[in-house]
Every structure is written in C-alpha cells, then in structure tokens.
C-alpha cells in the first residue's frame, strides 16, 4: 500500500497494526502525535489496547514495565525531557529483561530548552541496556517499529527496544511510504508468549527482586550476553522482514562504500543529505562513501571495522555533544572499534546540527574536502570540531 504519512503517523499506524495490549501514554513534543493518533484508534475501536493516560513519563514507562511483566505487550512514545524523566525506569525495564517497545522521537535535551532535533536524549540512555535502532526516514521509522518486537521478545534476547527517528525532520515531514497489510504485520509479529509472566497463575513469579553483590554481577553478565545475541537476532529479523516487504536492512547501511577512500559515519536523516553529497562528489571522481549507523545498541563494531578497513580518512558526524571534551559518542564508539585494525584510516569527529541546526549538502561537501586534505597531507588538524555554528574563525 502506498501512502503519504508523517513519521509520527507511520509509527502510530504500525502500533495500530500490531494492536499492542497496553500503551503508557504521555505527550511531549515532537512525539505527541503518536499517542494522539493512537488515542483515535482506541476511541474508534480499531484496536483493543488498554490506553493508560498517566501524569508523567516516569509513570508511562512504569505502566509499560508492569504491563510487560504481567505478560502483556506494552508500547510507549516519548522525546527529550520525557525520556530523561524515564531514565531510572529505562534501566529497570532492561534489567528486568522486559521487551517493551518505545518510539523515541529524538529532540535536544535541555538546556536551554529546545524542541528540535539532535540525539542528546537517546544518547543519554545509551548505557541503559536498551537496543537502539535509528531511522533515516518515515519508511525506516515504520519498518523499525515493526521489527522491534520480534527482536526484543526473542527468548535469547528479552531486551527492550527503542526505535528512534529525528524529531520534526522525520516525525513531522510527510513522505511517501509503503505500508504492509495488517494481517501480514500480525503474522510477522506473532503472539507474545513469554515463558514466565505475573498473570500465569500456575507459576507464581517475582520480578525485579533485590539483588545483592553475590548475584548482581552474574545478572549483569546475563544482560550483556543478551545484547550480544541481539546483534544476530536483529539480522535474522531483518532477513524475515525483507521477505514480506522487499526492503533490506543491516546493522548499518553502506552507501557507495565498495571502493570508498573518504567516508562519513553518521546516523538518521542526515544520511539523505550526505547521500546527495556523495553522489555529487562521485560525479567529480572523488571516491566518497557513507556508513549510516542503524543499530547503535548493540554497537556493530566488528562489522564497522570491515566496512571502513579500506578507507583512508573517515569523519564521524555526531549530532549530540557528549561533552567528553574529546568528541561525541558515535566518534568514541567508532574510533574504539577501529583500534584493532592494523592499517587504520585517519579519523576526525564533527559535532553538528545541535538543537536542529540545519545541515546542507554543501556542509557535507566541506567535510569531504577536509577528508581529502587529510588523506593527501597525512595531517588531521584538530581532531574534534563543531560545524554550523557562527564563529569568528572560518573552518569547515
């Protein structure tokens, strides 16, 4: 089915097709439309979801945790400060191994307060134990949400999944989109049949008991192992998804990387802009390429090594600061992953687009210009810079 939908409506529609048991609903810009559209489906009787309107995001995630522990499928949507208010519960959901699905519509996290896009919200939750999958556009936001449950609910995984899309850029822009038929989605998702759940009366269960030092470490190892299993499971689900949709997904997308000497590593909607820049540079004979990270947790480090092994210079583009004093989170992960490579490419970090600062094709071309200089001279110059801010200095 071809349609035109915004990213938010696409995700709400995916939720409708899935027909989850419970939604913990609380509005926050720019994710508000998701519970809003979904409330209409509930009111129209198009789903039989228990729609729980709560007083905060701390509570919406608590509702999801309780529902999922009881044996239900729970969904949620939030952004920015809302995700921050869930922070504690994100850890509870992951450590209790409850495969909740959360649509995170990325927005800068205060302050100063800002409603536009960057990844400072979900990057703050990157160590919480959630699988994180990022979308470039509406189609991917829809597809990722449908793949989330078969990934997270797998008995070897049992981890919550956060599907992320860029606030406003993806969530509010209306694009052409291919929707699956509802019965196809339902068959793909299947029934949620956890082995243990609170409402299983023949098998009393305690969830989230106090865990002292003689046991805590072992439970964390179990959780860490589950995240490793998730990497394989994400690819299995992607293969199955391709059969019903014709759309193929990996841990990341390699765009014109076969013989690329200069490459970018970035996430989300900027990939569309960067692809246009890559195409332009390729016409001029520049061997430019792009790696778009789709799965950030688990981080596809080993696979990235293979993708970047043949390059001469790489720019990681971080759309969140991280305030490490030495570059953003995507840079830290990517650079660390390449440490074991014998012949490493030069690598720089560019922090850009904070709080919705626009990035254009020309900006990306400037980054490739810097990479070309680095590859030619062997001098990387400043390791970590910002792009797009007004400055007295002129720098790409």
């Amino acid at each position: 089915m071809s349609h035109r939908l915004s990213g938010n409506e696409a995700v709400a529609y995916a939720m409708k097709q899935i027909n989850p048991d419970v939604m913990g609903a609380f509005p926050i810009t720019p994710s508000t439309e998701i519970p809003e559209y979904f409330a209409q489906y509930v009111a129209n009787g198009e789903v039989n979801t228990e729609y729980v309107a709560v007083e905060s995001e701390h509570s919406s995630m608590s509702v999801c945790i309780a529902a999922q522990a009881a044996g239900a499928r729970a969904v949620c949507a939030t952004s920015s400060c809302g995700l921050a208010l869930m922070y504690e519960l994100l850890y509870v959901a992951a450590s209790c191994r409850l495969p909740i699905t959360l649509a995170c519509v990325n927005r800068a996290l205060s302050g100063p307060i800002n409603i536009n896009h960057d990844y400072s919200d979900s990057m703050g939750g990157r160590d919480a134990g959630w699988i994180q999958i990022y979308a470039e556009n509406n189609q991917e936001a829809y597809d990722n949400f449908i793949m989330a449950m078969p990934i997270g609910e797998h008995p070897g995984v049992r981890l919550p999944v956060m599907t992320c899309m860029d606030g406003f850029i993806t969530s509010h822009a209306v694009e052409n989109i291919e929707l699956l038929e509802t019965d196809v989605v339902r068959r793909f998702i299947g029934e949620y049949n956890p082995e243990h759940y609170l409402l299983k009366k023949e098998n009393p269960l305690a969830v989230g008991p106090y865990d002292l030092s003689p046991y805590y470490m072992e439970h964390k190892v179990l959780q860490a192992e589950a995240m490793k299993v998730a990497r394989t499971r994400i690819l299995e689900v992607a293969t199955k998804f391709e059969k019903i949709s014709g759309r193929s997904y990996g841990l990341f997308e390699e765009y014109r990387m076969e013989d690329a000497e200069l490459a970018l590593v970035l996430m989300g909607s900027t990939a569309g802009t960067a692809k246009a820049a890559v195409n332009k540079l390729r016409e001029d004979g520049v061997k430019a390429g792009l790696v778009k990270i789709r799965v950030f947790r688990p981080f596809p480090g080993e696979e990235l090594v293979r993708a970047l092994a043949g390059t001469r210079a790489v720019a990681v583009m971080d759309k969140s600061e991280g305030f490490s004093g030495g570059g953003g989170p995507l840079f830290a992960e990517t650079r660390s992953a390449l440490y074991d490579l014998k012949e490493r490419p030069y690598m720089i970090d560019i922090v850009y687009g904070l709080g919705g600062r626009d990035v254009k094709v020309e900006d990306i071309e400037k980054v490739f210009g810097r990479l070309a200089d680095i590859a030619m001279t062997g001098e990387i110059g400043p390791l970590y810079t910002h792009m797009g801010q007004r400055s007295k200095e002129e720098r790409a």
Binding site: R97, P204, V207, E218, H219
Partner: protein
Amino acid sequence: MIYAKDINEHTPWQDLTPGGEIYEPGTARLFNTGSWRTNTPVFHEEACKHCMLCVPFCPDNAIPVRDGKRLDFDYMHCKGCGICEEVCPFPAITMVSGGAVK
C-alpha cells in the same frame, strides 16, 4: 526451571535466571536475614499464656504457631526489633543485648 533452593552464592551466571526472576512463592523462608539482628528476644515458655498478641505484631513473621500454641522464635528471620516484648502482657518475652541466640 531453576528453583530458588538450587541457587546460592556459588551458582555460575549461566545458571541464574534472567533479571533475577524467581519462579516460585515464599522463597524468603530460605533467606537468612536473622544475621542482621542486634538484640535478641528470649521466649519464656512457662510464663506464656498463648494469647497470640505477639504473633501478628511481629513484622517478620518470626513467631511460628502450631496447634494454637506459639513456638520459640524463628531466629533465621527475627531482626530483634523488640515489638513482641512491648506487646506481651506477661513476662514471657525479654530482650537481651546482642544478636547471638543463647
């Protein structure tokens, strides 16, 4: 299925349950919390009228009852709070200093 009685401080991570889930009720019985005790109640059976006032007041269910009669303290779960001594109308419970059971 892994039961709580089969899990202890020597169990490797591979044999523990995801998220520390417990698949049966009443497992607090297996857990020695009496070691936290700083004071200890002593039961004087000869002075006890089995009025059962102490039993519901005990916050830790540490006073077992059988056939309408209270038995000696369950020291594996008694924390020595002394509430039982406070509510006992008879000289049937006295508190002594220290956690050791005499």
